[in-house]
Each structure stands twice: as structure tokens, then as C-alpha cells.
Subunit: 679 residues, 2 copies
């Protein structure tokens, strides 16, 4: 059942801490490292990331290792090539030679972030891989960033080149602080991964300038139209212990909602600037902005422990989950202003569901998990990871989706007919890259009692108190073999997440003896581990048919297929009948394995009939049918005028994992499939 055991590459199995890295090493943490959790001042985080991260989780060959390897081997190089071709790197050169003005490449003010996110991705890759080539490439680009930095620490190639250096002139749309946020995150990644200070120092100098400008008593009062710097500043505080960064993040969050961004065409809601954060109990406006802001607010909570922030984040989360999240974990229902949309406004075809929004939701979910320890956040992380996020990149890791619909109509004109190598607004691809490169950081946490495993992948997991080795064909195979290695002997608690979709149906044995786990969300096993114990988790992998709330209008009368953590979809290329003309009935069953992009995936098959073409009105058949007769074509008919006919030619529909769609001939696709029992 394990489909793509990968190519033998062992991610994380390198000598990343050997002499290649000449700088001093920090704790080698991952992307988010709450410190209040381990401080004496009271803990807002009930769980914490594993540390040092470079050793904590090592992926062995399997589903994720193969994808992470493809990211490292192909996406990173492709990203560098595309940024070079697009002139994104050249823009930094233009900013470096300040006497030279233009021509700037591209019209968007945030193209620097492509470079910063790509650098962050390379750094996380370097944390686990021994790659002199990538280290050298990174240093070259970092040197370029350094040259683009102005004497006082400011960096933004667009402002320097296009705007003649006029800074902070357009906080609503200029994205300067947003760009700074990504620079800070890249700088932290570089330091944590390599121990070097170069990019970190560049970023910190800019951060200090921003503190001077925007901090308490600074010259400016405002905040960025696109949240992102908030989460970055909290992490910079974590990395440095410098309170000013945390305070500035707090100040941006405190000020937001005062309407300082003005009334723009899309309205204050677009910027999450309608009312103060602490009075905002719904998620609204531009999806990625809303989710990055929530991520920053969660970071602020993790360091300050301010209960009001967690309360409002819970409300926002519930609002998002209740009616603004697709079954894929995608968010953002509207193309128009890239907005989340109203509750239950979740069109399948017009879904925007930007790849960056999936990533942002994973970031927020991770922090909520740290803050509360509740399974729902790890459940959502898993849903987004395997579906909404993973669909954003091709199996060969070289082409990307910006928009991730749940339905493509035949000959669709709604988006590009397939994945693309790059975009004019290329925020998504490097965001995917940094997420893959740091993905293993999100699979487990620790607390004072032991280790919590949230996501299942082959590999070794080590925390201070305990550790496990995992073998599994997850997400295709429901069996997970977990061994406690001898070097992790001792008394500690092993917590294993039972995904919501498996709860009450999963089973566990320890050394062959069944253990009753009921309907728990985390199996907690506290014992004196001798080492050598073998635990076997078994998750039910029977395909499930899933209904949506009737208020999700596009999904009414339909089912979605889920199998394990995966949402499935039907692509036209796999069907005998025209996909949009099929009406399903009955249960789903396992189908044959299917090869897509060199890997094998389990299919799920459903039975159905081809809906007969709409019979023409009986009245009409008596009269002369005229050329171009609209009545025959009119897609609405009176109830009762014809029998409901679901008795057409029998057919089957084959579904594949949603994340694997659009890797072959591009055509019609559906997640929601009309089904007789769906009501």
C-alpha cells in the first residue's frame, strides 16, 4: 500500500552540524520557538517545539521524505532560476547601486519577499542537509541582500528604485513591513540553520530601524496593510531576548482596527482594520492577511499569556472552521478581493483558496496547538497539509497553483489550464518551499511530561524526555509502527494523536497486546519505558463519503470522498463518462492503484449513472422544433413536468487524492460529487 517510498534519499540524515558550518550554532530551532514556555515567568504555551530541531525529527524514506527531497532537489533550483529570469534578484542589485534608477522588474512592491522566502527555504534545507552548493548559493544571495541594504539598515528594492527612496509612504498597499517580516524570518532561519550571523544581522538592523520608526515614541504611528511582520518580530524577540521586538509586535496588533489604513476600495475589512483585534470575533477580509495576523496574535499570546488574546483567537478559529473553511482546509472563497467570504460562502468552482492561505492556516494552527494542546488544531494542520497545501505544488515540485479550486468545469476559463512554473505575483512558490524545508518541525512537540506525536511519517523523533522511531505507509496505509528505542528508556509520557476522522475506530497494541483507547483524541501512555517496546496504531482506511452543511450551497446533494487524512477528487481523465453528467449512488470502494507522476496512489471508486440528456418538453415534441430553439436548451424546468431520472447508463467514477490532481491532462475536476444519498 505504500505508494511512493521515495528515491532513497534520507532527509535529515546528514552531517549538518559538521565543520562545513563555520559559524557558531544557536539552539538550531525551527520556524517558531515560543520562549515563555520554557521561561520561569509563567507558561502560555502548554507544548513546545522539539529542540534542537536539527536532531529532533529525521524523516526516513517515505511519503514526506520524497516530497521534501523533491522540494530540495527541484523547487529550490527552479525558484532561483525563475527569480533570476523574472529580474527579482536584479531588483536588489538595482537597489544596491543607488545611483542607478530602474528599469525595475515587475510592478509589485513586494517582490523582495520572493527572495527572502526562498532564502528561508534554503536555510531550513541546510539545517538537515549537507550541501556546500546550497550554502554557497545562499551566501551569494545574502551578500546581494546586504548590498541592497541602505546605510541606516533599510531594505526594500521597490521603494529604493521605483519610489526614489520615499519610505513608508503607502502603509496600506506598500508592503514594506510585510517585506521586512519575511526578511526577519529568513535571517532567523539562516542563523538557526547555519549558526551564521550575516543575514540575521542584516535583518536585525532593519528591525531596529523599524522599532525606531514605529515603536512607542517613534516618529510614525501605523501598521502594515499586509500583516506578517508581527509574527516575525515575535520570533526575533525569541531569538534575541530583546523585548523591543515583542513590544513592537504588540503595538502593531494593539493599533490595528483604528482605521489608520483608510477606506480603500475593498474596505477596511480587507485589511482586518475594521475594529480592534481584541473585538474581532470573526475572520474576514483578505484570507492570507487575516491568517497571518491571527498567527502573529497567537505568537503574541504565547509570549505574553494575555488571556483575552487567546479568547478572541478561539472565537476567530471557530468562526473560520464553522463556515469559512473548505473540506480541503483551503480558505478564501472569493477571487474578487481574495477574501474569506461570508459563512458558508464556499463555492467549489469560484473558490480562490490561495496556496499561501493554506500555509498561513498551518502556521496559525501550529501556534494554537502550542498554546492549548488541543487536538483540533493538529487535526486541522493535518487536513491542510495533505490537501489544501499539498495540492499547491506538482508532484515533480516544479509547477505551482496559486488558486486551488474544488471544481474545474469543462473547458474552464476561470484560471490557467494547469499549474505554472512561476507567477507575476509569485508569493506562493517560495512559501511552499520554506514550508517543505521546515515541515518536520511541525510533526511533534514536547512538554514537561514527555513527547507528543501529531503527524505520522517514517522517521525518528527525539525530545529531551523521550523519543520514538516510526514506520508507516501513512497517509495511504493506516498502520503505524512505533518503537521506543533503547536510548529513550525512562519514565515519560508518550502521547499519540488519534485524528478526528479515526476517533473511536482506531486501535492500538503494545507489544502485541491490545490497548483500549476509546474515543480519545490523544492516547497518553505514561510508563517507565525499557526501550524496545513496539506500538502498533491502526487507523481505519475505508473510504468515507462526506456531506457538507446544507448552507454550503455548491455541495448540496453531493458527497466528497475522504480516505484517511486525504480528500479525494475525480478528474475527467480517469472517467469513461463526462464527469459533470454523472449521478452517484451507493458506497465507495477501494479501486486499483493508479500511477501519477511516477508514484502509485490508491483510488476510490463509486458507482453511478450517466444522467440522460434533458428530455425535451413533451409539449415541444408536438410542435415544430425551430432552429436555435432556446426552450430545449434552457437549463431550468418545472418540477413535476418530467420524472426525475437517475436511471441512465451505468458507469463508475474513479477518484484520486486531491493533492495529486492536475499532474496529467488538465480537464474537469470535482471534489463534490452528486450522490443519491446526499441529503
Amino acid at each position: 500500500m505504500v505508494a511512493d517510498r521515495g528515491d532513497g534519499m534520507t532527509v535529515g540524515d546528514g552531517a549538518a552540524t559538521t565543520g562545513l558550518l563555520d559559524g557558531r550554532r544557536t539552539a538550531a530551532d525551527g520556524p517558531a520557538r515560543p520562549v515563555a514556555a520554557v521561561s520561569e515567568t509563567g507558561s502560555a504555551a502548554v507544548r513546545r517545539p522539539l529542540s534542537p530541531a536539527s536532531d529532533a525529527v529525521r524523516l526516513w524514506p517515505g511519503f514526506w521524505a520524497a516530497r521534501v527531497a523533491a522540494n530540495a532537489e527541484r523547487s529550490l533550483a527552479a525558484g532561483l532560476a525563475r527569480m533570476t529570469a523574472a529580474g527579482t534578484l536584479e531588483n536588489l542589485e538595482l537597489a544596491a547601486r543607488t545611483a542607478h534608477h530602474g528599469p525595475y522588474h515587475g510592478k509589485l512592491p513586494f517582490l523582495d519577499t520572493d527572495v527572502f522566502k526562498w532564502l528561508e527555504a534554503v536555510c531550513w534545507h541546510l539545517q538537515t542537509a549537507d550541501s556546500p552548493e546550497w550554502l554557497e548559493r545562499a551566501e551569494e544571495v545574502i551578500a546581494l541582500v546586504g548590498r541592497a541594504q541602505q546605510p541606516d539598515g533599510y531594505i526594500n528594492s521597490y521603494v529604493t528604485v521605483v519610489r526614489g527612496g520615499e519610505r513608508w509612504a503607502d502603509l496600506p498597499s506598500g508592503h514594506e513591513l510585510y517585506c521586512a517580516g519575511h526578511l526577519i524570518q529568513a535571517g532567523i532561519a539562516h542563523r538557526r540553520a547555519t549558526g551564521r550571523e550575516t543575514l540575521f544581522d542584516i535583518a536585525r538592523r532593519f528591525a531596529d530601524l523599524i522599532v525606531a520608526e514605529f515603536g512607542e515614541g517613534g516618529r510614525r504611528v501605523g501598521y502594515c496593510g499586509h500583516p506578517e511582520v508581527e509574527t516575525a518580530l515575535v520570533e526575533l524577540y525569541r531569538e534575541t531576548g530583546e523585548r523591543a521586538y515583542l513590544d513592537l509586535a504588540g503595538r502593531f496588533i494593539d493599533l490595528r482596527g483604528e482605521g489608520l489604513l483608510g477606506d480603500r476600495p475593498f474596505g477596511r475589512r480587507y485589511f482586518q482594520d475594521l475594529r480592534p483585534v481584541r473585538e474581532t470575533h470573526v475572520m474576514h477580509g483578505h484570507a492570507v492577511r487575516a491568517l497571518y495576523l491571527a498567527t502573529g496574535v497567537a505568537d503574541l499570546y504565547l509570549e505574553t499569556g494575555e488571556a483575552e488574546l487567546l479568547d478572541v483567537l478561539r472565537d476567530q478559529w471557530d468562526d473560520l472552521v464553522r463556515g469559512k473553511t473548505y473540506i480541503t482546509g483551503g480558505t478564501g472563497a472569493r477571487h474578487r478581493d481574495e477574501a474569506l467570504g461570508d459563512a458558508f460562502e464556499l463555492p467549489a468552482d469560484q473558490a480562490y483558496t490561495e496556496t499561501c492561505a493554506a500555509i498561513a492556516l498551518m502556521q496559525w494552527a501550529w501556534r494554537m496547538q502550542l498554546a492549548t494542546g488541543e487536538s483540533q488544531y493538529a487535526d486541522m494542520f493535518e487536513r491542510v497539509l495533505y490537501n489544501g497545501f499539498l495540492a499547491g505544488v506538482s508532484l515533480d515540485a516544479e509547477r505551482f497553483f496559486y488558486v486551488n479550486p474544488l471544481q474545474v468545469r469543462p473547458d474552464s476559463t476561470l484560471g490557467p489550464a494547469g499549474r505554472r512554473e512561476w507567477f507575476t505575483c509569485a508569493c506562493c512558490p517560495p512559501n511552499v518551499m520554506r514550508t517543505f524545508a521546515s515541515l518536520h518541525h511541525y510533526f511533534a512537540t514536547s512538554d514537561e511530561t514527555g513527547l507528543q506525536v501529531h503527524q505520522y511519517a517514517p522517521g525518528s523523533i527525539r525530545s529531551e524526555l523521550g523519543g520514538v522511531d516510526v514506520e508507516t505507509g501513512y497517509p495511504f496505509d493506516g498502520r503505524v509502527r512505533i518503537e521506543v528505542p533503547v536510548d529513550c528508556a525512562g519514565e515519560w509520557t508518550l502521547s499519540l494523536r488519534i485524528p478526528a476522522w479515526a476517533r473511536g475506530q482506531a486501535s492500538l497494541s503494545i507489544d502485541g497486546r491490545a490497548v483500549e483507547i476509546g474515543t480519545t483524541d490523544y492516547v497518553r501512555l505514561t510508563r517507565a519505558w525499557a526501550g524496545g517496546e513496539v506500538l502498533e496504531l491502526d487507523f481505519p482506511m475505508e473510504p468515507r463519503l462526506t456531506l457538507a452543511d446544507p448552507r454550503v450551497d455548491d455541495a448540496r446533494g453531493c458527497v466528497a470522498v475522504e480516505r484517511g487524512p486525504l480528500v479525494y477528487c475525480a478528474e475527467q481523465v480517469d472517467q469513461e463518462a463526462e464527469l459533470d453528467g454523472v449521478q452517484l449512488s451507493g458506497a465507495a470502494r477501494e479501486g486499483d492503484m493508479i500511477e501519477i507522476g511516477g508514484a502509485l496512489f490508491p483510488t476510490v471508486v463509486l458507482d453511478g449513472v450517466v444522467r440522460p440528456a434533458r428530455s425535451k418538453s413533451k409539449l415541444k415534441s408536438k410542435s415544430k422544433l425551430k432552429e436555435g430553439d432556446a426552450e430545449a436548451a434552457w437549463p431550468y424546468r418545472t418540477l413535476g413536468a418530467e420524472q426525475a431520472q437517475h436511471e441512465g447508463e451505468r458507469t463508475t467514477v474513479t477518484t484520486i487524492p486531491y493533492f495529486a490532481w492536475a499532474n496529467r491532462e488538465f480537464g474537469a475536476m470535482r471534489v463534490w460529487l452528486p450522490h443519491d444519498s446526499a441529503h
Copy 2:
């Protein structure tokens, strides 16, 4: 049953042809007057508008007279006030004083068309109403337009003021020819309505300049990003007999599709510039552009009789009707690029369905009716007229919709929370005004055999060969009383349209004797009319429940209520239960009359149940429910895990005519209502 017999005003019952109008009168035609139909060169039009239009159709008090009166009494004045407040008129003053540059009011390059369309509306109003005040107002604005005209005939305040007079520099987006088209239409209306030449001469001078620039052998080869000038130029040919205008319209249409507009962000499809018109068998891109272009092509066909044009128009029409038209007759599924969308991409909540698109479809349908005589085009005209178009203006005629969704979710953020007095882009309101002011022109046609009545309203209809007087409470009452007046005695054919929704169920009597009409679409009565004959048509007014093609995903499992020509909708303000939580079953029935905006409308009532709140997972109830538990909120559930429950508290849902929505408290609204029998 007749709800709003109006205020006693008799539209068209004035002395419009008396001495008030000092100019010479033309034939006083309406907005579209094919001439090939009455020429000896072969007829492309099988029917023609009644002429002289000022006498042909006079509306008596009733449904349309009241709306037309409200348009004249309130919309026209409101339009003038809004244009004054917005600076739209001042912009023409700025263009007139060429030494003076700015500040221009507004950022859009086509604001002049607000003035031109408003002028056209005032002129059509003057055709049937004796109003010295409006005549004077019109002349003042016409004088202003004249002052804004450059010495060589050019007019465009935006180009003159903002672009420093640089003409034709941005054909894709500059809208200069589009503006010219509306000026030409206003000039023709002024001449036909008042017999005066002032605005007509202004328009013709500009048209001559355009012929010199863009005609065969002119300095420029190109066409406008927004079609509109094509239909106007054909009408100018009709008015003048000057072939150059027809040729230029043909040239614009011939060139279109050569890609001269370039590759813009929304793509060549947006501009209908993907391929030549004669090779375009689908409707695509920006809805209003697509429909105005089709209207112009239909005009070209009507004058040239080129069979290939009619063939392609039929294909385009069928494509539009088959999957790109809402049940309201609205078109344009996408907010993003105001586009028609793919076949069956017809979301109810995200529907764009611009009011101007409804008007454009009426214009196209009218010309297709003239070209073919087929009932389907008059059927569509009726559908749009009573639903998609009429919903675009409030009952008090002072507030407008730009976007006309078929569903509003609770606390929707998708559009403004109600109608607006004016818009930054105010194309729709004056478009509504000119349509109302000329509406009676579209109710009947003539041919060499007699008179065809397409739309039923109280009033008198006279053609050269015959005439009728009509009394009816249509669209609420299905009885139509038609009398042949004594002065119309003679042998001629009276054709009466049987709407598609009534076909096979309508009945007719003549002088009390039933006449078998079968399932015909036009009852054709050829006889020697003595005068005094009374015909009684009876259309079935029982509410109908209508299903959509399953590929209209938003409407799956739902019904729409229709009654006569009216589509109904449910507004939250009329419901006991939360609208989105109701599941209907059973038949629709007549409800009480309801008063909205001072008029009474028949309601239609359906029975249903309030869907119980989703029961929480049985598993969940055994475990501790955590604060902020997402599982309870997650809007997707496994099929079979719970019984389908449509057995909640009984309730009823009251529906009202769709055109009357959003005239009270603004809230949730639905056209498509979930119904047990809808499959």
C-alpha cells in the same frame, strides 16, 4: 389582483407632437429601427418596430405605466442631481474651457456616458410626455455637451482634461468609442423624440471624425475595448442613410478578434478579442461587452442580411441560454472580471449579474426577435424585463443595484447592504432610465401581414395595418382582455405571444367563444376584423416550482418559485425561521398580498421544516467537550454517521417577486430554496 394600478398618470397620453416641439419631426421612431426591413433590397428583419413610435404604443395605468412614471418623475431628477454632485457635468465644463486643466471629477474615463445615457432617457421621455421643464433641462445639458466638443468634432472630457487631449491612446481601456456610441444614441433619441437637430448634429460631427480616423483608408486600424459604438453606428446609418456609418460598424466587427487590443491581465477573451466574430460560437468575457457586441452584430445583420452573422448569433445565443443565464435572465457569473463565466458556472451568492448586462440582453433579444420572429427571443426579453432588469431599481425609482445576486447570506459582506443612489462607476442607473423611457417600443412589432403583440400591458397599440386595446393586470393576473377597436377594422393578422411558461395551458376566447390554440407560441388570427371584437387570453398563474440543471451546482436540491413571468425570492424579513435553515417540501400555494413600497404584490408560500442544528457526533457526547471544539463546528460530516433529519419544527416560507426585493430591511435573500423533491 392588480396591485399597483399606478397613480393615474397616463404615459404616452400627452400631446407630445404639439407646438411645444419647434423642430421638424422625423418618423419619431424608438431606439432601434431596422431599415432593410422596409427596403426593396431584401429583408433581413422579418418584423419591424411600430412606427411612428410616439403613437404606436400608449401605456394606460397599470404595472408598467406606474414604473415608467416613477422613472420619469424621480429617476431622471435624481440622475441629474447625482451627476451634478459627482461632478460629471462639471467635467464637460472643464473640457469646454480647454485652457483649464482639472481637477477632473472621478477617475473613470467613461463618465461622459452617464450624461449621454441620461440625456437619451430624457429624450425618450419627451417623446411621449409634454414637459417643457425636461425639454429645457435637456437643452441646457445638450448645450454643455456642445461646448465640450472640440472644433473638429471630438468629444471626450476625460481625454481632453486628464489626458491633455491625447486621443485614441488607449483603445483597450480608454472607452472613447464607447462614449461616442452613447453620444450617438442620445443624439438619435433627441432627434426622433423632439425633431431637433442640436444633439444629433453634435453626435454626427463626432461620428464623421471617427469615420475619418477609423474607416477604410483612415489613419487608424483598431476597435474599442468596450463594444457599444457598433450598434450606435448602425442606428446612425438608419437615421441618415449614410452608408459610411454602417461600413464602419462592419469594419469594427470584422477587425475584432485580431488581437489588436493586446494581451491584458484579464486576457483577450475579456474584450471578445480572442478570435473573429464569425468564428466565435460561444459567449465569453466581460458580460456587458459581450452582449453589446452581439447587439451590434445583430444590427449589422439586420442591415446586411449576411447569413453567416445570423448563424453565429444563433450559436452564441444558444450558448448563453444553455448554461450562462440565470433564471432571472441575469448574466455574468463572476465578480472578478465581470465575466459571463463557464457553462453552468452560475453561483447564486457570488453572482455578478450587472444591471447593464440585463439591459444589454434585452437589446440583443429585441434585435433577434426582429431578425427571426421567433418567440424564444421575446420570451427571454420578458424574463429579463420582469426579473433581472426590474430588480436593478428600487420601487421608488431612486436607488439602484449594480450587482444583482440570487442569494444574500446573513450579514453578507459581498456587496453593499442594499441599493444605492449612485455609484463611482454609475453606468447602470442612467441605463435603467433610458430603458424605462423607451420601454413601450419593445412591446409589439409589425410586418406586412399585421401586428404582433409580445408583451402584455394595459394600453393601446397601433400599427399601420391593425391595432388593439389591451386591459390586463399582468404580470400578477393572467387574464388579458384585448379589443380590436373600430378604427382598426380591416383584414390583417393579429399575432399574440403565448409565453413559454404558459404554452399548452393558456386559453383564448373571441367574443366569448373558446378558440383552440394548442401549444403554439404565437396565436395567429387572420381575419377581416369588424372592430369591437373582444379577445380574452388567460394565462395560468398557479405558482410553479422550477428545478435547475444539476450542473448549476448552487441550485442542486433546490427549487425556485415562478409565477407567471415572475421569478420569486424569499427575503428574511418575511420569514419566521432563519431562511438558510429551512428545508421545504410539497407544493407552492398562493399567499396573502403583501405591501412593499406602497404597492401590493401576491406572495407565494411553501411549507417546510427548520433543519435541526447539526447534532454533535455521538462519539463526542461521550467525551469531554472542550472549549472551542472545532469538531462540533466543522460543517462536514460522514454520510451514514447520522440520520438525515428533515423533521424539525414546521414553518412556512413566504416568497415575493424577485424584482421587489431589497425595498425593505436588507437581509438574507434566496431565489433557490432547498426542497425535498428537487432532484
